[in-house]
Symmetry: D2
Subunit: 308 residues, 4 copies
């Protein structure tokens, strides 16, 4: 089995290999110039901050289906320990074990490969157990602040939550952009709201996972045409699940991460943000979504914040 011709055609159209040099490791993050950030800061109106991360807890979004992607196991390793003797100041410390892609996270570019290649043509086998990803690890993505745009596809459809299996199309993005009263532009980080995370928030972890609305294989071209820097949404799978084309699994992952070199975010909680944007009618904001710089990692938890 190999990837179908249709995939390769789209791949050719959105490919960014070499665009920022053969040594480049950060792909579309290059599109976030200082000017983009300066303008995004200048666009802040109220100073209201809306956090977008789910709490990190053992009862997180993972249900065990993906081997190794474990919800956080939090444990205290010291509790009120008077390390310098009785009656002194006491310390509590904790430790955690977790899958880096378990909660609200960024996928780093080497999170997926296809046809033996990573972003910018690097060989897939440059990801090893000893050191992880040699190129484009999440620790290379060190400046992730930009203008954020919420494309509230659910609201544009007049619903709280798109149905499972709904493929978010370029037309859906256009409609949401219309609702937002803005134009997506170079360097933007686009947040696509489907409302799917409401299932998890209501306690339905299985319903959250599958079936899921998500991005259509047709959307990478839309992002590419606008020079978007990164895309995140409020689903576990990011792209529509089950997939649109039989036996073509994770095409959007492959197009974004491998071909375009564009970071993806998953399990972002966009509910409070949707309400806030709906109230003011402004869907743009300063977005800070700094990856934790895990050396060699193919993903990371992130605690994004929108400053309105």
């Amino acid at each position: 089995m190999s990837l179908p011709a249709e995939f390769h055609e789209i791949a050719r159209r959105v490919n960014n290999w070499g665009r920022w040099g053969s040594d480049d490791e950060i792909g579309t993050l290059n599109l976030i110039t200082d000017a983009v950030v300066r303008d995004a800061a200048a666009g802040v109106r109220t100073g209201r901050r809306v956090p977008l991360a789910l709490p990190l807890r053992q009862d997180g979004v993972q249900s065990g289906l993906i081997p190794g992607r474990v919800n956080p196991l939090h444990a205290m390793v010291q509790i009120n320990q008077e390390i310098f003797g009785p009656g002194t100041v006491a310390c509590s410390d904790d430790a955690v074990t977790m899958g880096l892609q378990a909660g609200t996270h960024w996928d780093a570019l080497p999170h997926v490969s296809h046809s033996g290649r990573l972003y910018n043509g690097r060989p897939a086998d440059s990801v090893t157990a000893h050191g992880g990803a040699a190129f484009s690890s999440i620790a290379t993505a060190r400046h992730l602040v930009s203008r954020g745009v919420l494309l509230d596809v659910a609201r544009a459809h007049g619903t709280d939550r798109l149905p499972g299996g709904h493929a978010v199309t370029p037309e859906d993005l256009e409609a949401a952009q219309e609702l937002a009263g803005t134009r997506v532009r170079a360097g933007d980080v686009v947040l696509v709201r489907t409302g799917q995370i409401r299932a998890y928030l209501a306690g339905d972890r299985e319903g959250y996972a599958y079936p899921s609305p998500g991005l259509s294989v047709r959307t990478p071209e839309w992002f590419h045409a606008r020079d978007v820097a990164a895309v995140a949404n409020d689903t576990l799978t990011f792209e529509v699940f089950p997939p649109e084309i039989e036996d073509l699994w994770l095409p959007v992952h492959a197009l974004h991460l491998v071909e375009m070199g564009m970071l993806q975010g998953q399990n972002w909680n966009l509910e409070e943000l949707s309400t806030a944007c709906g109230e003011t009618g402004r869907y743009t904001f300063l977005l800070s979504a700094m990856p934790e710089p895990f050396a060699g990692a193919t993903g990371t938890p992130v605690a994004p914040v929108a400053v309105l």
Copy 2:
């Protein structure tokens, strides 16, 4: 043994219990109003982003002295796994185990207790192995964006790195403020640079740990008088080590976290920021330093970013 009278006198002067109500869990973060953030955003000049986190790696700043505070153990749990069959898109996933206070981090308020009490008078034993901190866990600190001010004490002293054991005094902070050409004000997050982290960056992990310059027990009153929201610096111990007063260990921790209810940051890399501020002569910026929302945790890794 108990804490000396001198400690209790300072504690009385800086205590914030009840100031934001008996139910309050976030202490001085209350001082970051939307207006503070709006003004901080308006102060952005160039859009340059300076990251302040050390890479998270097994060869991190911890040398094993503090039980349980382990450097990150990063491991791949899938490498280029074609989960949907041969020839399909392949995935790599990773997992990590780490002490939450191991790298560049925030101490949450319940990270220390004294005399059986946490911030706002909560009982120390509300931190348990089952669920961690019941109050003021790091997951409650969800809006940590504000104006940042770099107080470059090392530069004000005309040095790259203060000597080990140098207690950073209110006078030092005044001199650094003078250098910065600004006034620290309510809601600011203050970053105090000692240059100590240069030892770690140069490969001297033991020299980084001890002896260390750090905040004097006299500084909490200075921060309190200015209604500072949070303080971070570039040392392992945060406060001067060995301590200024014999047998009075970690007094600054106790004053900040327990009495004032003010978050502390440690192991922040302020070197690039120091250079950047030195070049422009501006020592203020928009700071985003969002905690990862670990439920019940007494600390968290953080990837802060200064937007200049």
Copy 3:
């Protein structure tokens, strides 16, 4: 709420506090004398070894109900790494995170407390986050080899698996002893087979957990009267679940671990052993079930083996 009078009456009858001195940490393991082990070795007939542990894997018996008791997360940290240069011998290394009570395991004595006490009257608060159990941690149980006796209650009932909720009574143990053609004696490790683990082996993890057959609150006196050294069985809960007496949860745990100072084993796979003993008609063997000596731990995975 407190424990009912009925519980306290049984507790009084089986209590071993002080029996081996006020400093004792290992309870009924004291009953395994060298002579017991020598005779057990002399009883070996064929040399056939039957392992009793379930594989340690992420798809283990835990379903997530018990916070923190996570199935093993196994990860490679090096794969065929030529650490000394190209063309040299290559190494693979792995790491694991797991709950110590997650798989086939021993409960150490401080795994439970009641009324603020552990075995031998130690205070329950001697178990801390800093160092774990100060007394009777699993690392003190260093000589766990003895005669093993299989009491095959399921077979004595003419079934492969006792029904969920079946309380294994002293009468059941007598019948199984009759079937075994032996008498349980001082220092023996008794393995009680219910057949319940067949549910897990058949893929029904929920059915394995609940409802479950298990030991009745009346059995500790039976073990006590015979000076049994330790007891293990093939269930997740060890004792019958739901419990026999309303609102009296885990009484057998409290009687064995706290009152008697007797180790308990859970999730032992006794299926192959049952077949082997059924074939020969001999239900006794040399049993080696050495705990991994985790310092301070309240339990440990174990890989027991019966030598027939």
Copy 4:
């Protein structure tokens, strides 16, 4: 670079590939027949049990040199938690993260490869991040009980501890066998004592690691000629370090694990056993050293016990 001719010549002489069939995964463990175990049990004289594992603790033998091979991080996840309500029986649970080769352990056969091959000719790339070792994982070694023989090379040399860099030769093994008054025979597990672990026990972790006495590249032929089932010793490196032949690293690992298919044990504490055997003059015993059955793992902690 490639392995020298000398290595390949020895490899040819000790190679066991195909000896137990092309499907075999357990190599020399095939040599432990039931009769071997029956006779070993019959050889038990006193029933005294001597444990051979070091405690598993954060302050273990690893000093951080080997990436990913971390000492155990033990953490309580519940402490005296009254899960069924106030006044009920309270539970304590713990969790651990550790390198599987960190303490007293077995190396599984796929722990090393050379020239792209594992034991029995399996391809080295059958070890993957997804599932670990597909062949000969430690979970396949399920019956590890046999006769143990202590070859006390240190005592035969009239010393407590061989000097660092001492290569234990076949002549050393002969002398120790002479001292033991026995002949090593098919199916035996041989324990080679160098006394090196006394450095660790005395607090010198660095001195324990390097330089180290250990097995010479000439010993695999000695073990092969006698059909030994497994070999363990009391060092971190197993073989002499630095190596005997320049640029030939880990030859004994490659010969034992890859060519012979013979398990190796490291960091075994043989001090009490040495004393016990010295007192009685008997150096043989029943040895139980059951691996924890981690699925896919290339090693495991083990808690071996000698029954004298």
